[in-house]
């Protein structure tokens, strides 16, 4: 039996046109919340599941367990070994993707109306009855170790490793969640069952469904997929402060173009200044060719192909980050420009024109995101993870429009801090050295 909590029809005002997205919020018979959009014009369903927790739940000494475990979900379940499972999936032309990141593990699926019951049954088997056969563990372990070796020679990955380990130390955010050669080699079959039991739990599951299916069918479907999982998992990690202070860390690597990852502390997703910061970041470096950093570093000086900044509100830490790549000979000049602009925006702020342009862009772009089943499924699961209500879709542009120039420039003054900005540069940057 499905209990209908609420159904909304949202008129999403694109500049002049209207999109209607009807989001239904349902509770399945076993008590799992699901967001559904029915779209019957194409005979398939897109499904997104996010279990909050993720690779940050790796136990001590078991770094890489959650990552390896999620890679093994498609490698055999029930009475099917890996090849049998994949042959069954291919015959149904269903796609299942299993992934993990620091704050969650995710399952994305697409399946046809014509064989929906079989595709869901096979996915339920993978989620609830993974085999973790030893030969599959060894085979996928080899792939993970190859990825770890590849990261050790990839300038962007080297920069990330150096940056996050210095920023977060022993917290799970401070190490690569693929694990190290040592920890991955030590992982056992028991570790896989433990990681599975810890990460895939009902109380931390968020589900969205979009496509050729109705509310009556969704409840039993989601219960079939998730009702057999444990109710709760181990405690989530503690909050951690961003631990890097201002300065430069150079990691020597023999390659012609240096890459830089830079950042400072940020703010939480539920901070009352989040929207002001979000707009500020859009102006500073979030909106590609229209951003200040792109104009100053690329358009005026030709120093890079691309420079971007990002607000990164993770579940247990907050950052304001940026990235850029420039030839070794030009990295010093690039970083000077970044510092100048970070300082200028922090002190002088942005203009009313820049704010208006960013608002028009953000409010116009938002409705355009809802243009496919897969996109809508992804947006809805993301909203649930962030704790946003269904009607956020209606009000989101009002939140953007309510931000004033004073708000944005106060946030710029209070949060943007060039003295706190730390740059990790990987390459052979001429004239740049690690600061004390």
């Amino acid at each position: 039996m499905i209990r209908l909590i609420a159904a909304f029809v949202f008129g999403l005002n694109a500049i002049a046109a209207n999109a209607d997205v009807a989001i239904q919020e349902l509770t399945t018979p076993s008590g799992i919340n699901v967001w559904l959009v029915e779209e019957h014009s194409i005979p398939f369903v897109a499904l997104e599941i996010n279990f909050v927790g993720g690779t940050a739940l790796d136990e001590d000494g078991k770094r890489g367990a959650t990552n390896l475990m999620m890679a093994l979900i498609e490698e055999g379940s029930g009475d099917m070994i890996a090849q049998e499972f994949q042959a069954a999936r291919e015959a149904l032309a269903a796609t299942y993707e299993f992934d993990s990141y620091d704050d969650g593990v995710t399952i994305s699926a697409k399946f046809l109306t014509e064989n929906r019951d079989q595709a869901v049954a096979l996915l339920a088997q993978a989620i609830n009855q993974p085999r973790f056969d030893q030969d599959a563990i060894d085979r996928v372990r080899g792939q993970v170790l190859a990825n770890i070796a590849s990261s050790a020679k990839n300038p962007n990955r080297i920069a990330g490793e150096a940056f996050y380990s210095a920023a977060f130390g022993d917290h799970p955010y401070g190490s690569d969640d693929s694990g190290t050669v040592e920890t991955v080699n030590a992982l056992t079959q028991d570790d896989m069952f433990t990681a599975h039991r810890n990460a895939l739990v009902r109380s931390r599951a968020y589900v969205s469904v979009v496509g050729d299916i109705d509310a009556e069918a969704v409840g039993p479907m989601v219960d079939q997929l998730l009702a057999g999982l444990p109710e709760d998992g181990p405690a989530l990690p503690d909050h951690v402060d961003f631990g890097l202070t201002g300065g430069v860390t150079v990691v020597p690597f023999d390659t012609p173009q240096s890459v830089a990852l830079f950042g400072q502390a940020g703010l939480k997703r539920d901070d009352e200044d989040f929207f002001a910061a979000y707009i500020l970041n859009t102006i500073l470096g979030g909106n590609g060719p229209q951003s200040i950093l792109m104009e100053e570093v690329r358009e005026k000086r030709g120093l890079t192909y691309g420079i971007y900044s990002y607000l990164v509100p993770k579940d247990h830490a907050e950052m304001w980050l940026g990235s850029v790549a420039s030839a070794n000979e030009r990295m010093v000049e690039t970083l000077d420009v970044v510092m100048d602009q970070w300082s200028r925006v922090a002190t002088v702020g942005v203009s009313q024109e820049e704010l208006d342009a960013a608002k028009t862009y953000l409010t116009g772009e938002y409705p355009l995101r809802f243009d496919s089943n897969q996109a809508i499924a992804g947006i809805m699961v993301g909203m649930q993870v962030e704790g946003l209500p269904v009607d956020y879709v209606i009000h989101r542009n009002d939140y953007i429009n309510a931000v004033t120039l004073d708000d944005v420039n106060r946030v710029a003054r209070e949060i943007l801090d060039p003295e706190a900005l730390h740059f990790v540069v990987v390459g052979q940057p001429v004239g740049l050295e690690t600061t004390e």
């Binding site: 909304f8 890996a82 291919e90 060894d138 190859a146 023999d254 772009e365």
Partner: protein, 442 residues
């Protein structure tokens, strides 16, 4: 804003629609494709020019891509960067891309903004106004783009060498972004001569996809693009053809930044030809059968399951090219396995495949997946737009695009065996080993 579920459903009730496509040609020769998708009030507006890097003059590699960047500079009617600013101010996004056979520009925006997009895109088709300063800074930008995509990436550097070895005579052997030394010498007049000749309505394809009415698109296209005179001197698209390959070619690529040794193999292969897509369709199946999925493909089964010789196997076939394309295989050996051993195992698996009957279950499974792929593709109108734009820039017709699913559906075991025997000819192969040191090549 609150309504009940039932009101919502009645509002959304919509007839089941397939991909609805309308095509026509403007009086000046510009081809137009309209794809309707009324689920969201969004439109993708694209202009494709039927020239890419493989059409560049000798010694000017990268000029097609350089010009693509320069098209965001000033015109007689817009300042530098204005087009992108206007798109953003209307809540849209825009970009462009260059490949061997085409250069394309697109915007994704609320459907009622289509006239403005057409006005600006038509403007930069003819009114570009470049300065010396534009050239200097933007050349630095494309050199940094090459640094990022190629110079900092040993696999990309290796791929360039492999393509150069594969194509002795055809321009597919030259990278789209250009050779670095030629990019450094690109000048204003190089970009302008490419622009003046090839950026013309009779060399372009307009694709409009989304919440639009084809009749209105036609009226707008006539208004904005139809007034641009055709280029009377548009040259015929002639390219140096690749000669028959009669000897296997081998190369080794060493770069200390390589983390995982691997081998790559390519064979010259036929592409989709207008009215004759059957071989290409069979090659799509062949790629799936040899290396599509590690769990079920011939290489995956032999090298990753029956024996633990590889951590990666794959096969690729690029059906969408104007001229002869490539069929590729790649294998990354497991820890402690030599490249020579993994190549021998790959060749044995290919020989086994050629000597055996096609597994009917595999054939039907791939057929089902390709059919499903057509259904999933309808969820992405931009992907459909790309399909038509690329095809029409590569010598195919709208009819070819619409026939393609049926041609794929009709592939038989015999077709696959025939193309496998034709294409997987060692004399027509290029094999590359990639490693961090000479020692790893042993």
């Amino acid at each position: 804003m609150f309504r009940t579920l039932f009101a919502a459903l009645s509002l959304l009730a919509m007839p089941a629609i397939a991909e609805e496509v309308t095509t026509f040609t403007l009086d000046n020769g510009m081809d137009v494709v309209v794809i309707e998708d009324h689920r969201a009030p969004v439109v993708v507006h694209m202009v494709w020019y039927r020239r890419g890097s493989a059409d560049e003059p000798l010694g000017q590699s990268g000029v097609a891509h350089f010009l693509e960047h320069l098209l965001f500079k000033a015109t007689d009617n817009m300042s530098s960067g204005e087009l992108s600013e206007v798109v953003a101010a209307n809540g849209g996004s825009d970009n462009a891309f260059t490949s061997y056979d085409y250069t394309a520009y697109y915007q994704r925006v609320a459907a009622d903004r289509l006239p403005l997009m057409m006005q600006m895109e038509a403007d930069r088709m003819v009114n570009l106004r470049l300065s010396a300063a534009d050239i200097a800074t933007e050349r630095d930008v494309i050199l940094e783009e090459r640094n990022m995509r190629v110079e900092n990436n040993p696999s990309a550097l290796a791929r360039e060498q492999m393509m150069a070895a594969q194509y002795l005579n055809h321009r597919y052997g030259v990278p789209v972004i250009g050779w670095k030394h030629e990019m450094e010498s690109l000048e204003l007049e190089d970009a302008l001569s490419f622009y003046d000749l090839y950026y013309s309505p009779n060399n372009a394809v307009l694709v409009v996809a989304g919440d639009v009415d084809p009749n209105e698109v036609r009226t707008l296209a006539d208004q904005y693009y139809g007034v641009i005179p055709p280029e009377e001197n548009l040259p015929e698209r002639l390219r140096a053809e690749e000669p028959p390959q009669t000897a296997a070619r081998r190369l080794t690529f060493v770069d200390p930044r390589v983390s995982q040794p691997y081998l790559a193999r390519s064979y010259l292969a036929p592409e989709r030809d207008s009215g004759d897509q059957r071989k290409a369709a069979a090659l799509v199946y062949l790629a799936e059968m040899l290396g599509g999925s590690p769990f079920s493909s011939a290489l995956g089964t032999a090298l990753q399951f029956d024996a633990q010789l590889a951590v990666y196997t794959g096969a690729g076939y690029d059906a969408d090219k104007l001229d002869d394309t490539t069929f590729t295989l790649s294998v990354a050996p497991a820890e402690g396995v030599a490249l020579s051993a993994v190549e021998a195992a790959m060749d044995a698996a290919i020989a086994d495949f050629l000597a055996s009957e096609v597994d009917p279950n595999r054939l039907e499974s791939i057929r089902t997946q390709l059919r499903a792929g057509q259904i999933y593709a309808r969820d992405n109108v931009e992907g459909l737009a790309n399909r038509y734009g690329a095809a029409l820039s590569q010598g195919l017709t709208v009819q070819d695009v619409q026939d393609w699913p049926a041609v794929l559906e009709a592939v038989t075991a015999e077709d696959i065996k025939a193309v496998a025997a034709e294409v997987l000819d060692p004399k027509r192969s290029v094999t590359m080993w990639v490693a961090a040191s000479e020692g790893e090549l042993k």
